[in-house]
């Protein structure tokens, strides 16, 4: 086991909304009435059924309530345990599944205010992601601008499976706002379930949906690159969260080969896909889809041809590793420092901002 170093940045932790009623104090009268009158109870996504084994490590599962819903547990099991300096909260609450743009916007605003009050205000090591729904780009931009006034928000959070590929021009105002405000754009595993969760249709099983997350990240990366997002926003950082990363080298070999053959179709892509990934795209460490064998893993790191791509993450409370083995065997001290400290700070400039107590 490779030991973590103190002061690292955990780039993917998941505080859970206990229940839709937890958001009631953050909704206006109209939406509070809608929720209660219409009998809405909770927004749990099929991507993360509460009792699924991957939703929580067995020893992190609370006696009652949702995994990740208790700040003291998060402190003891993740923040203190891995001696982190910061942890970035990525709430996975099914607000993106809602079809009405007004309702989705109301829930996103409530979720972001809930995160501020119940987590960020209570634990100085925590930082936040601004959850937005893509039903209305205009409302998403307004919410980004509203939340960004608080320097503890360090990124915008999207799901990897939504209504349209994320490179589509309709979404660019979101990327412009993020770049302007010094926010990264995090793309997390999960689906709005507005399309089948695989590109070949609806499967039968939860396990299929989880495996398919990796393929969804691949198609989004293609979309973001070939639509020209990074030609327009060269300093924008995007972070693939809970994406896996061992698929990246062969994916890029294929994309690069077709880009060479087909670049007449997207002439604005003025750098090779591999270069774009090196400068603009980052990946959270967990899960590591590789055999537990340092030789193979180090070959995979070599295939990635950069030590700047990975950002430390526990994916707390999801079950990705056992015990304290959050870092795989065989990492050099230098790589540990890059993954845990240098790379996250280079990705999230807002981490350096002083926060007024």
């Amino acid at each position: 086991m490779t030991a973590p170093i103190a002061g690292g940045v955990d780039c993917d932790v998941h505080p859970a909304v206990p229940h839709l009623t937890s958001l009631l104090p953050y909704l206006n009268d109209y939406w509070r009435d809608q929720v209660t009158t219409r009998g809405m109870t909770d927004l749990v996504s099929q991507s993360y059924p509460t009792c699924s084994p991957i939703a929580s490590r067995p020893d992190w599962r609370p006696a009652q309530g949702k995994p990740g819903s208790n700040l003291d547990d998060m402190r003891a099991q993740a923040l203190d345990r891995f001696h982190v300096g910061h942890a970035i909260c990525n709430p996975l609450y099914g607000v993106q599944m809602v079809f009405s743009e007004d309702m989705a916007d109301a829930f996103c605003r409530a979720l972001n205010d809930w995160l501020t009050t119940e987590w960020l205000d209570r634990e100085p090591r925590l930082r936040g992601s601004i959850v937005v729904s893509l039903q209305s780009v205009e409302k998403a931009v307004a919410e980004i601008e509203r939340c960004a006034q608080d320097p503890r928000f360090v990124q915008v959070l999207l799901l990897v499976m939504g209504d349209l590929p994320l490179g589509k021009r309709a979404y660019w105002p979101i990327y412009a706002a993020a770049e302007r405000l010094g926010l990264a754009v995090g793309i997390h595993a999960g689906s709005a379930y507005h399309s089948p969760p695989t590109s070949v249709g609806w499967g039968s099983y939860h396990i299929e949906d989880y495996v398919a997350q990796a393929q969804a990240f691949q198609t989004q990366l293609t979309s973001l690159i070939v639509e020209g997002v990074f030609a327009r926003h060269p300093t924008l950082k995007m972070v693939m969260l809970e994406s896996g990363f061992t698929w990246l080298p062969p994916f890029l070999w294929r994309l690069h080969k077709f880009w060479r053959g087909l670049r007449m179709e997207t002439p604005w892509v003025d750098r090779a896909p591999l270069e774009i990934v090196r400068s603009n795209i980052r990946f959270s460490l967990q899960p590591i889809d590789a055999p537990p064998d340092p030789v193979t893993l180090n070959r995979l790191f070599d295939h990635m041809q950069s030590d700047e791509l990975l950002l430390f993450s526990t994916d707390y409370p999801h079950w990705q590793f056992e015990g304290d083995a959050v870092l795989p065997d065989g990492l050099s001290d230098d790589l540990v420092r890059k993954i845990m400290i240098d790379n996250p700070h280079a990705t999230y400039p807002r981490l350096r901002q002083t926060v007024q107590a």
């Binding site: 590109s199 039968s204 099983y205 299929e208 495996v211 198609t219 293609t222 698929w247």
Partner: protein, 369 residues
């Protein structure tokens, strides 16, 4: 790729020098729209001329994402006698089979009855395509072998077509496409696997096809390049479905070939499947072993478009993880992203591995060794 940066060698001068290869992905085309009529009932002639052959997408002429060039094929592959690329046996022999010393060429017809909304028409067209492969190709050229093309969305009639052709040595595999109405592990497709296993034929799953699902799990993208790159994600979804639905467990003698969707993704997908299966296997008790075991024992990959990393040691490591015995060389002739057999494999491969890659794996899998 068809952009010619170097002079191609004159075919005649190189024949003797080249070792024999298997080309496990050749696309034969019809010279005219009516070429299948001798094997189609007259009802369907009228249907094709009025309604056409509507697929699970809206275009009546051409594909939804325009290809990079006509018929997605090499501009130098038009036969001198006319007709689209890949429609002339004599020109295929002259341009490809002879100069590249192709000892075995596996035909994968596209634009057939697969992916059509009218399943009865699909069945008629697939059967006609199978007769046409024998009449126009394999009976005229012993190096070529055919694929049993089946109406993919209609399991029982597809199985009947396989049983009709079983034992006919013109055919070496059953052909499916990667994109269908549902993921390929679903029960509606099981009759196809049952009949293929019974006939002792592998099932080749070629990239492409239409089933109504967007080519990403997040809606329809903008560009042809996204569809082309996306075929590898579709193939991953299909293979995951086959494993997780228990197809390899239920049909223990069935082998599968992933055609034209890359192979670089195979190790990462298998590692991910194994890791997630450890967590979630209670949901799929019919998957009795780690997914990677089914994949490494029962799945083969064709090579084109060849993975092309900057460093050859990365390619060799990748193939080591997959196994040199699992790859089947393919050119994709006459398509534009054709791989030239003299250029795809870097120096530094042992003779045994090279021969396996280019020829022996295919002969063994197809029972022609």
């Amino acid at each position: 790729m068809n952009i010619q940066v170097r002079e191609r060698p004159e075919p005649a001068s190189t024949v003797a020098a080249k070792t024999a290869i298997a080309d496990c992905d050749i696309h034969p085309a019809r010279a005219t729209p009516t070429e299948l009529y001798p094997w189609l009932a007259s009802r369907w002639h009228a249907h094709l001329e009025t309604i056409g052959a509507p697929a699970y997408h809206g275009m009546m002429i051409g594909p939804p994402y325009p290809k990079a060039q006509p018929n997605a094929s090499r501009r130098d592959a038009y036969p001198p006698e006319g007709g689209p690329q890949g429609s002339s046996l004599s020109f295929m022999q002259q341009q490809h089979l002879d100069p590249n010393n192709v000892a075995l060429g596996v035909l994968n017809p596209l634009g057939t009855g697969q992916g059509l909304r009218n399943h009865e028409l699909a069945t008629a067209l697939c059967s006609a395509i199978n007769d046409w492969q024998i009449a126009k190709w394999t009976s005229q050229e012993s190096r070529l072998k055919a694929s049993i093309v089946v109406a993919n969305e209609d399991g029982p009639t597809a199985a009947a077509e396989i049983r009709k052709r079983a034992g006919d040595r013109n055919f070496v595999q059953v052909l499916l496409l990667s994109r269908n109405v549902e993921p390929l592990g679903q029960r509606r497709y099981w009759p196809i696997y049952e009949a293929a296993e019974e006939a002792g034929l592998p099932v080749g799953i070629h990239a492409f096809g239409y089933g109504g699902n967007p080519v990403t799990a997040s809606g329809w993208p903008s560009y042809y390049i996204e569809e082309m790159v996306g075929h590898s994600q579709c193939q991953q979804g299909g293979l995951a479905s086959l494993v997780l639905e228990g197809v390899f467990e239920r049909f223990p003698k069935l082998n599968m070939i992933m055609i034209e969707a890359g192979f670089g993704w195979a190790p990462s997908l298998a590692w991910r499947l194994d890791k997630v299966w450890q967590r979630l296997k209670s949901e799929v008790p019919h998957v009795k072993r780690p997914p990677s075991e089914y994949i490494s024992e029962r799945v083969w990959w064709t090579t084109q478009p060849m993975e092309d990393p900057e460093r050859r040691d990365h390619l060799f490591e990748l193939i080591d993880w997959i196994g040199w015995d699992r790859l089947l060389f393919a050119t994709d002739y006459p398509h534009w992203d054709y791989d030239d057999p003299s250029r795809v494999l870097p120096a530094g491969v042992s003779d045994t591995n090279r021969d396996a890659f280019y020829l022996n794996n295919a002969l063994k899998l197809y029972g022609l060794a």
